[in-house]
């Protein structure tokens, strides 16, 4: 992780990361016409289809979305196949595609057929992962409510995947959200754990836009900068996501088409839709015949882990809060000591008290820095993993839904077969032919459904295994960094005390 030791001055982290924006823009999923619960489940996949995306963002005929949706109850809409077999996700606002996207890299057209995924993953023969990303130099662009922060994304790599070894681009927050929404729409429903993008915050951003140059705005920007960096690193460390053309475009191209209406598909919004869908699915009382105990066990394990991580996160947040408080109280005490020193007649005592005030000031800074360590290393690590678990849960849910689709198709096929038998018995040849055609279609569907289900199950197994390994490694790396910061703090303290002792002894 390219978490360079920045000297960020965050103080308060009590930004309520609001699930904002969703109410400001017409959110299609929020106004379903009274459709069966399965429609809610449809929203995500239909949203992820190319042409539908256009209608969504053009806002011209929002009803179109629903009109089309009502026709297709099953998720195997032709649009979805387009998504799977075509090139990169259709541009949200079509713009001249940057040149890097036109040069196909690894079997461009094969990118999205399921089997190709496996090929890419097994192709370890290429570069081993070697990449450093840093997000830096936040710069305010524009004025008033249209202003935004532009961040410099710098990449250093030796991988042959990239055109050069060191390069940088300018990106804004909505670009990151746009990247995430593209990746989520492409990969979540086939079982890949797509790292969630950092949360939006109306309060935080408004302060920055309005030009409030105070500590809390700086803290907010720094918190965001750090989370963007971690987000990118997690995304590129995923072997499949790294090679995605949208990711490559994001990292390399100097101009990026503006991601519009990222509100509706912010990670929070996405997760909410996932949760709604999951609830809807549960309400349909899917009792999935889990033939694979692995999934049930993993689900339990992940639920358990979620609870544990949240608890840990809460404890660390408390620690951060109190450490910041300590920094504050130390500062106040330093001032008191200074006043005592200034008023003191006795020369040596006066000097010692003034030195005391200085030591306390230094300790204030030390505590402040340590609070940052507590926050940026431990607290954000735990928070990131709580959010990541959300993405893992999402893929499990998608698997459930895939299974449900398969079930539906199988049931329908069964019904049609029965109908066929009945019709044959009643001797209605033309209707029989129609049913035979339908059966053939359904058989294909069922086969596809079985393949989908197998594929997603396989992918999830790999992803979860990867997640667990990365989690442990991440944890260890960061804890070591944290311990190092603690040791450093102690050694500084020793220096300060050592320097003060002779001053104290000199009073007499």
């Amino acid at each position: 992780m390219a978490e360079a030791a920045r000297e960020p001055p965050p103080q308060h982290t009590d930004f309520q990361e609001l699930e904002d924006g969703e109410d400001l823009f017409p959110e299609p999923s929020a106004t379903p016409e009274s459709e069966p619960a399965s429609l809610a489940a449809e929203d995500i996949s239909t949203n992820s289809n190319g042409p539908k995306l256009d209608s969504l963002f053009n806002d011209e005929d929002p009803e179109d979305l629903f009109a089309e949706a009502t026709e297709e109850v099953s998720l195997d809409s032709p649009e979805r196949d387009i998504l799977l077999s075509d090139g990169p996700s259709p541009a949200i606002t079509p713009v001249t595609p940057p040149c890097s996207a036109t040069t196909p890299r690894l079997g461009h057209d094969d990118m999205f057929t399921h089997s190709s995924f496996d090929e890419i993953e097994e192709e370890e023969g290429g570069d081993s992962f070697d990449m450093q990303i840093s997000v830096s130099d936040p710069e305010k662009v524009g004025d008033g409510m249209n202003a935004y922060m532009a961040y410099k994304v710098s990449i250093k790599t030796s991988m042959s995947l990239f055109k050069s070894h060191e390069f940088s681009v300018k990106r804004r927050f909505s670009d990151f959200l746009g990247l995430h929404s593209k990746l989520a729409s492409k990969y979540l429903h086939v079982g890949y754990v797509v790292p969630p993008a950092p949360e939006k915050s109306i309060v935080g951003m408004t302060k920055v836009k309005v030009g409030k140059e105070d500590q809390s705005s700086n803290d907010f920007v720094e918190k965001r900068r750090s989370s963007l960096e971690r987000y990118l690193m997690r995304t590129v460390k995923h072997p499949v996501l790294l090679k995605d053309p949208d990711v490559l475009q994001f990292l390399e191209s100097s101009e990026l088409p503006r991601a519009v209406s990222t509100q509706a598909l912010s990670s929070a919004g996405l997760l909410r839709m996932v949760n709604k869908a999951a609830e809807a699915v549960n309400k349909m009382t899917i009792k999935m015949n889990e033939s694979d105990a692995w999934f049930e066990e993993k689900q339990q394990h992940l639920d358990h882990l979620d609870v544990q991580l949240r608890k840990l996160h809460g404890s660390v947040e408390s620690l951060v809060c109190h450490r910041k408080e300590l920094s504050g109280t130390t500062a106040l005490f330093a001032k008191s000591a200074a006043m005592l020193g200034n008023s003191e007649d006795h020369t040596a005592l006066s000097r010692a008290l003034s030195q005391l005030a200085e030591v306390e000031e230094k300790m204030e800074q030390l505590h402040h820095d340590q609070a940052n360590g507590d926050f940026y290393l431990l607290s954000e690590l735990l928070g990131d993993y709580v959010r990541l678990l959300g993405a893992v849960k999402a893929v499990f849910d998608h698997r459930m839904r895939t299974w449900q689709k398969l079930q539906d198709s199988q049931i329908l096929l069964q019904k049609k077969r029965e109908a066929e038998t009945k019709l044959q018995f009643n001797n209605k040849p033309d209707k029989v032919q129609q049913v035979k055609d339908e059966i053939r279609e359904l058989e294909t569907k069922v086969q596809q459904g079985e393949r989908d289900f197998d594929q997603i199950s396989q992918t999830i197994r790999k992803e979860v295994s990867r997640f667990e390994k990365v989690r442990v490694k991440d944890f260890k790396t960061i804890v070591i960094k944290y311990l190092e910061s603690l040791v450093q703090t102690q050694q500084q303290l020793i220096k300060y005390w050592d320097a003060f002792l002779p001053e104290a002894k000199a009073i007499s």
């Binding site: 005592l340 944890f475 005390w497 002894k505």
Partner: protein, 369 residues
């Protein structure tokens, strides 16, 4: 604390510098303090138990030594406010550092009080001190007489006299200086208490985190689960030691500089009381002088007499007061130096121990595959 060994002139039968308040016992609502002192002759000890009322009894008797000339010029050692078994928030605020923990600091403060009283030239001669320290019988736990000596806490009109212009530059300077220092010392003690309380909160948060980590341990066979569990256990140990370190840091703060600032603050208050008493006497004296001047021939003689008495009293007070101020100045510098040195030494030791331990734990953590 105070190393004054003036036992030759003292009428006490015990050593002054090692009077100890060793324990505090809770009995329902009452707190009883065990006081141990070493006999001057031989190797015996006195063990007595006293309640706060007993301390108040002592303080009252010291205040009411009216026959002692210039007694009002004495800076009386400050007796801490009363401690209650279940103190209200108001009482806790008043006690400050002394209310922390299980009364260890409070006992230390009572100890300082006794040592200061026993070491004082004038005060130690009062029989009450000997009785208090050595008598096995609790020295009369009746309601103490109303304290006439803490005039500052009384009527508001009295307080206005505090600003009365002095006739003596030495005392005017001292009064100004004391007023400033009293305020700053009190604030410093309060703010240092806030620091200590933040540290204690951090210790609690660390303990919490450590416990939560322990709950993350998974007995599973899975190598990833085992790796994670191991890491959690190690990290839990780390936070355990961080908690211990923070607790030590807070204790060091309380026991050395905290106590010192608290004592300094109360002693400055005590000096303020004394200076105020003197100022009030000055006001009386000036009034007596005016009365004597303006007096009609009939009353003249009486007024002159009153004036002379007032003058003599005032002069006595000034003599004692000046000595006390000098003694006080020297004593507080010594006390603060002692507190600062102890504080620094203890924190340095704690920091070194913590650094060593963290280093070890860091190495252990790196060693986990």
């Amino acid at each position: 604390m105070m190393e004054e060994v003036k036992e030759v002139t003292s009428t006490l039968s015990v050593h002054v510098h090692n009077i100890k308040v060793t324990e505090v016992l809770k009995d329902g609502d009452t707190l009883t303090f065990l006081i141990v002192s070493q006999k001057l002759s031989g190797t015996g000890e006195h063990h007595v138990d006293r309640t706060y009322e007993d301390f108040e009894w002592l303080q009252q008797l010291l205040f009411s030594q009216e026959d002692e000339p210039g007694i009002q010029g004495v800076i009386f050692p400050s007796l801490p406010a009363k401690a209650h078994v279940n103190p209200s928030a108001k009482v806790m605020k008043q006690l400050g550092f002394l209310g922390l923990g299980e009364w260890q600091l409070y006992c230390k403060a009572l100890e300082s009080y006794l040592r200061l009283v026993a070491a004082h030239d004038i005060l130690s001669k009062n029989k009450a001190v000997e009785i208090f320290l050595t008598s096995s019988e609790p020295p009369g736990r009746h309601r103490a007489k109303k304290n006439l000596f803490n005039r500052l806490s009384q009527a508001v009109e009295e307080r206005r006299k505090e600003g009365y212009k002095d006739v003596d530059e030495f005392f005017q300077t001292e009064r100004n200086h004391n007023l400033v220092l009293t305020g700053y010392a009190k604030t410093a003690a309060e703010r240092f208490l806030d620091v200590v309380q933040s540290e204690q909160k951090i210790a609690v948060a660390c303990a919490h985190f450590s416990a939560s980590l322990h709950l993350c341990v998974d007995p599973g066979e899975d190598p990833d689960k085992q790796a994670f569990s191991k890491a959690c256990v190690k990290l839990s140990e780390v936070f355990d030691s961080i908690k211990k370190n923070m607790t030590s840091v807070a204790e060091n703060n309380m026991n050395t500089l905290g106590l010192g600032l608290d004592l300094e603050s109360r002693c400055q208050e005590a000096e303020r009381e004394m200076l105020f008493r003197r100022t009030c006497k000055l006001v009386e004296l000036e009034a007596a002088r005016r009365n004597a001047e303006k007096a009609k021939p009939l009353k003249k003689a009486a007024m002159e007499e009153a004036k002379k008495t007032a003058e003599i009293e005032f002069n006595h007070i000034c003599v004692v007061a000046k000595q006390e101020v000098h003694r006080f100045r020297a004593a507080r510098v010594k006390m603060l130096q002692h507190a600062l040195v102890q504080w620094c030494e203890k924190q340095l030791l704690t920091a070194k121990e913590s650094a060593d331990q963290l280093n070890q734990q860091l190495q252990a953590f790196r060693g986990i595959p």
